[in-house]
């Protein structure tokens, strides 16, 4: 198992390298540079700026310099924010973005698994149709619509929750968490329902019932373990998606995470910031997928031998 994890960790190196090189080439191929502004600077100034940020060097030298620095943890200075490094800017928002993602995923798991379970135990009945219809709605409404609606109702009309911020006022984490987590709760609900229905129809459940085990024990000890597997497998990509998608929620609720840097860096042609955030999101995606694979292998005996990591 440990060997397999190490093997997976080794694959990080080529993946990250490819991401850096492709991103690097793409941002340099895009028209416009970091110092283009409406008020045109003279060619001499642009030359000086390029010199100051090593953009006057040939591309392969720039990539090499960047990689050399990145290996040592130096992701370079931000072009947009003079005097600040990319690492510093990322670290200023990363804890908030992670916290938002964790709360959202917990909310999504709790609500999704609960409604999926409820639906799977009442197939075809109201308690199946209602949560599944709502979940379809949850998948369909993007956070950019859901957020402002929640703010309007619970923030402005009824004044239950603050409409912006993160950790500044009591209750200000609730609306962003719901906004970001709802779509995933809906997906988890459908995955749980599907997984549970499949498991509940299997022979070992029938055997358990024949042996006279209590329904609660059958569901929570025997069925749920297998029924929740699709949710666990989806957890990695879901967390990665949440982190990358936090931009919208961070904007709606004025949260100081890194989602905004991720998107704005591309518009600003802030080369080092684009690379830094791309590396971070690639690393996190790989890591969360790995974690969810490890979890899945613990829950599914058929995957355990291979560690679920092949």
């Amino acid at each position: 198992m440990i060997q397999l994890i190490l093997k997976r960790l080794l694959t990080y190196i080529p993946v990250l390298l490819i991401v850096v090189i492709i991103t690097f080439l793409m941002i340099h191929a895009a028209p416009g540079g970091p110092f283009d502004a409406e008020r045109v600077a003279s060619p001499e100034i642009i030359e000086k700026l390029n010199e100051a940020y090593n953009l006057d060097k040939p591309l392969h030298v720039q990539i090499f310099n960047y990689l050399y620095g990145a290996i040592q943890g130096d992701f370079g200075p931000s072009f947009k924010y003079p005097g600040r490094t990319v690492s510093e800017l990322i670290m200023s928002g990363l804890p908030t973005t992670i916290e938002l993602a964790v709360y959202s995923i917990l909310f999504a798991i709790f609500l999704g698994v609960f409604s999926g379970l409820l639906a799977s135990l009442n197939p075809g009945k109201f308690l199946d149709v209602a949560p599944m219809s709502i979940s379809l709605l949850g998948i369909c409404i993007p956070s950019i619509i859901l957020g402002p609606i929640l703010v309007l109702i619970f923030g402005i009309w009824y004044d239950f929750f603050p409409v912006y911020g993160w950790g500044d006022n009591p209750g200000d984490k609730i609306l962003p968490t719901i906004t970001l987590g709802t779509a995933y709760a809906a997906i988890f609900a459908r995955l749980t329902r599907g997984g549970m229905l499949e498991i509940l129809g299997q022979d070992f459940i029938r055997t358990a019932r024949a042996k006279g085990l209590s329904e609660t024990r059958i569901i929570f000890v025997h069925a749920l373990r297998g029924g929740i597997l699709p949710v666990i497998s989806f957890l990695g990509p879901a967390i990665a998606g949440l982190l990358a998608g936090s931009f919208v929620v961070e904007t709606i609720f004025q949260i100081n995470g890194i989602g905004r840097f991720y998107v704005q860096a591309a518009f600003n042609r802030d080369y080092t910031m684009i690379l830094g955030t791309s590396i971070l999101f690639t690393f996190m995606t790989l890591t969360f997928v790995l974690i969810s694979d490890i979890l899945a292998s613990f829950l599914n005996p058929t995957l355990r031998d291979s560690g679920g990591l092949e």
């Binding site: 895009a30 028209p31 416009g32 540079g33 110092f35 283009d36 502004a37 409406e38 008020r39 045109v40 600077a41 003279s42 001499e44 100034i45 000086k48 700026l49 100051a52 200075p77 947009k80 924010y81 003079p82 005097g83 600040r84 800017l89 200023s92 928002g93 709790f110 609500l111 609960f114 402002p148 703010v151 309007l152 619970f154 923030g155 402005i156 009824y158 004044d159 239950f160 929750f161 603050p162 409409v163 912006y164 009591p170 209750g171 609730i174 904007t251 709606i252 609720f253 004025q254 949260i255 100081n256 995470g257 905004r260 840097f261 704005q264 518009f267 600003n268 042609r269």
Partner: protein, 530 residues
Amino acid sequence: MRFLLVFLILLISCSESTEQKSKVDIYTEKGILLLGNGTEPSGIDPHLVTGVPEHKILLALLEGLVVFNPKNNGVLPGVAEDWNVSDDGLSYTFIFNPDAKWTNGDSVKPEDFAYSWERILSPDLGAQYADMLYVIKNAEKFHKGDIKDFSQVGISITNNKLKVELENPTPYFLNILTHYSTWPVHPETVEKHGGMISRNNQWTRVDNFVGNGPFKLESWEINKALRVSRNDLYWGNSSNKINGIEFIPIDNELTQDRLFRSGGIHLANTVPTEKINRYRDERPDELYEHNYFGTYYYRINTNKYPLNNINFRKALSLAIDRELIVKSILKGNQKISYSFTPPDENGYNPTTKLDFNPIKAKEFLEKSGYDVNNPPLEILYNTSEGHQKIAQAIQEMWKKNLGLNVVLTNVDWKVYLTRETQGEFDISRAGWIGDYPDPFTFLDMMVTNRGNNKTGWSNSEFDNILKNAASQISTSDRYNLYEKAEKILIDELPVIPLYTYTRTYLLSQRVKNWQNNILDTNPYQFLSLE
């Protein structure tokens, strides 16, 4: 079910707090202003930054030789308590206020300004606003590296006085000094944290920052808030009624609008267009709409056929119904442009005209000899719903009034800038906000080969008039010359002005002494909260 119950209990428990005062109420009592401030500032180094959010912050932290007068767009004493202008208008002598201090207790000296101006003019710093100081003798030469010795630049110091010699009499020199690029930095601090020409200088960090403005830097949380508090050492502190300011970066205007409505900020610096009418009806006292020193226009690439033909350009302009654009699309009280420089009723007010006349337009099109069956022309604009609506309307007007086919090209901001600079466009949308309240900030842009001209247009008479205007001491003589230049511009139309910008924003009634001015600048020490 249990979850729902828990959720409801949570909701009810939270709702108990509804009787609490809003943040605006609480902060008003504390004397702290809460300002929605656009995007996260890229920095607070006056010689490196270029944007409006940065300007709003620097207005609190630093002070130049003079201070912008929000009531009449003029100037008030700042670090300089007085100044003398020579009869020929070529030299200014500033007498320093002995009470002007840096936040570390040092006095603000003329040497600090000399150091600061040397810094911004140093070619190695790569400052984008260095040309603001080109009016000073030899400043341009120093910045372009033609002279290396800064002592040759027209700045000298005697007896705690700063003498500035200019290239030409520049009656708006004092107005230029209200721009943050001319404001001072504390030399020892800048040297200590990276040196004069380092772009990676750490002097603007909270722990390092030394300023001389009415407020001092308290904290800076990226993407959250930058806080400043009253500077007790500021020479005018006794009349400052504001204890602190929180600049909140909000780049989404809908988020900002919700924040304003929920009592989270005193000022929302923009209003979503679709909500303007509602605010007019429901909260007229909080909605501010006033002229802004900016023009929205279409830039014409005069190097290209058929746009190199004056008659063709006239046809384009005559076929635009500006009133329709302003009334039906913008709906924000914008004024139709009849000149490139925005008019100022109390100052420069050009008499040029831009008519809407489809019949005349057709005549000029015929005169130009252009065949409308040629491949379509392109209107280039950066991604924005507002620009798109205007471009669509103009596309329709040109089709209807001239039979002209036009395609619209919507590109990302940086692509748009690159294409404009490299001349890869036919017609592009453009906007310009004046840096200081003088027509020169607009007209100078259209001088041959100026970086911001971008149209390829060149007219030696226009260039000469502007050169001549620069040496005029009398304002009325200068304005007359500007008007002549303006007439050439409107006659030849390398740019087609569409409307004069309006500043539209929301301001809590708790903020007092706010002045509507064309630069939308209100030094905070003149405001109060009630």
